[in-house]
Symmetry: C2
Subunit: 236 residues, 2 copies
């Protein structure tokens, strides 16, 4: 019982465990008791060898010739991800996005509980969202101490995101999820992840352009140099 997490789990594997978890939850709902790496791979949108290798980092939890026990694997992954406890979360910044996040009862799922909302704008302080009232960002240290905040979500404009991150860290928060389009720096003992809409769109744009260019190359004769007016959208 002392030998918890003797293995070093690769980052890429950690990032996939939530996918397996979600797939297993679906299977559990449909009363399926065991699942093969093949099927789990299909549900999670990866390949079977990857599933087996990933799960092998957690331990030998499968049965050869049979597969994995859904409930047991669910529990093991939950435990590994630290979801057998509830992490108190604070959302900083209650503009459009902050509001949407605060109302995400569904998305949050098990393991996380929004316990505080803070904003720097005095006109927002006091506003009730769900069953929480918005408090001032200056109260962060007190809130963090009282509620034992583990995770801070930054949903502010980019211009103040670093300052907010600093305040969260100063208040003792050691995990930060940043929605602001800005590069943040935090001390080494703090985890930082980001969700960036515009980056995702730009990546899509890259491949989209590439496809359009490839189509044009096929359609146009590969002879003459530069096509004069190539600015019509080619999404047919």
């Amino acid at each position: 019982m002392v030998e918890r997490s003797r293995r070093r789990i690769p980052e890429a594997t950690v990032a996939r465990l939530p996918l397996y978890l979600r797939s297993l939850l679906e299977m559990a709902e449909s009363k399926t008791t065991t699942i093969s790496s093949e099927r789990l791979a299909e549900l999670a949108g990866v390949n079977a060898a990857k599933v087996r290798k990933d799960l092998s980092y957690l331990g030998s939890y499968g049965t050869r010739g049979v597969g994995y026990d859904v409930e047991f694997l669910l529990y093991q992954i939950s435990r590994e991800l630290g979801l057998t406890q509830d992490w108190p979360v604070v959302i900083v910044g209650l503009g459009n996005l902050g509001h949407a996040l605060a109302n995400y009862r569904g998305f949050m799922a098990r393991g996380f509980r929004i316990v505080a909302l803070v904003d720097a704008d005095p006109s927002k302080v006091g506003e009730r969202i769900g069953d929480l009232a918005v408090r001032h960002v200056d109260d962060l240290p007190a809130i963090a101490a009282d509620e034992g905040i583990a995770i801070g979500i930054i949903a502010t404009p980019a211009s103040v995101a670093q300052e907010v991150a600093d305040r969260l860290v100063a208040a003792g928060v050691t995990s930060v999820l940043n929605f602001a389009p800005a590069v943040l720096t935090v001390p080494a003992h703090v985890s930082l992840r980001k969700v960036d809409l515009s980056i995702e769109l730009q990546i899509l744009s890259f491949y989209q352009q590439r496809r359009v260019a490839a189509e044009q190359a096929l359609a146009a004769p590969p002879a003459a140099s530069a096509p004069a007016s190539a600015d019509e959208a080619a999404t047919a």
Copy 2:
């Protein structure tokens, strides 16, 4: 002029180009004319060797002993990412998140234009958000054809996300950004990216737990077997 994109740009590099772009935009605003890989690396939160290698895939756009011309590099990256044109975007699903996204004039930045909002709920159809009216999801084929939609954003509940993806693809959309917590499958000629809040939180939870466990291991004597009540949060 025909030799556009002769190099094969690695995926990891593509994912970082938007970071460089953003950093360069900041530099351009502060009237800086040239920038070293070192400084750009600092702004983008990566290391300098990576910046140089990444940029070298685009071409030899730097000057030895000097650095990169900010404006020129800005243009080259924009072009490479396909941001010299505007991509028409449709948002599907106007719940909390869809609303927030529709109002994100800021986050969207250059290169993208939200031209349509659709939802399956008849009570939402007709609602005006900004200067757009919500239309019914059944109109997608017509909308896609009229507006030349390039990118579809899925902001629906997970339960209908795959169906929406199928409809987008059927309507000719070839880039999809999925916010729903579901694994989607699309044909090979369609790009798919996802943004998943709960996955990000779960990844943070993994490392958070790991830290807490490490602290406890330090604090507690490494002798006795299982600590009886280990369910107090340890965020001090």
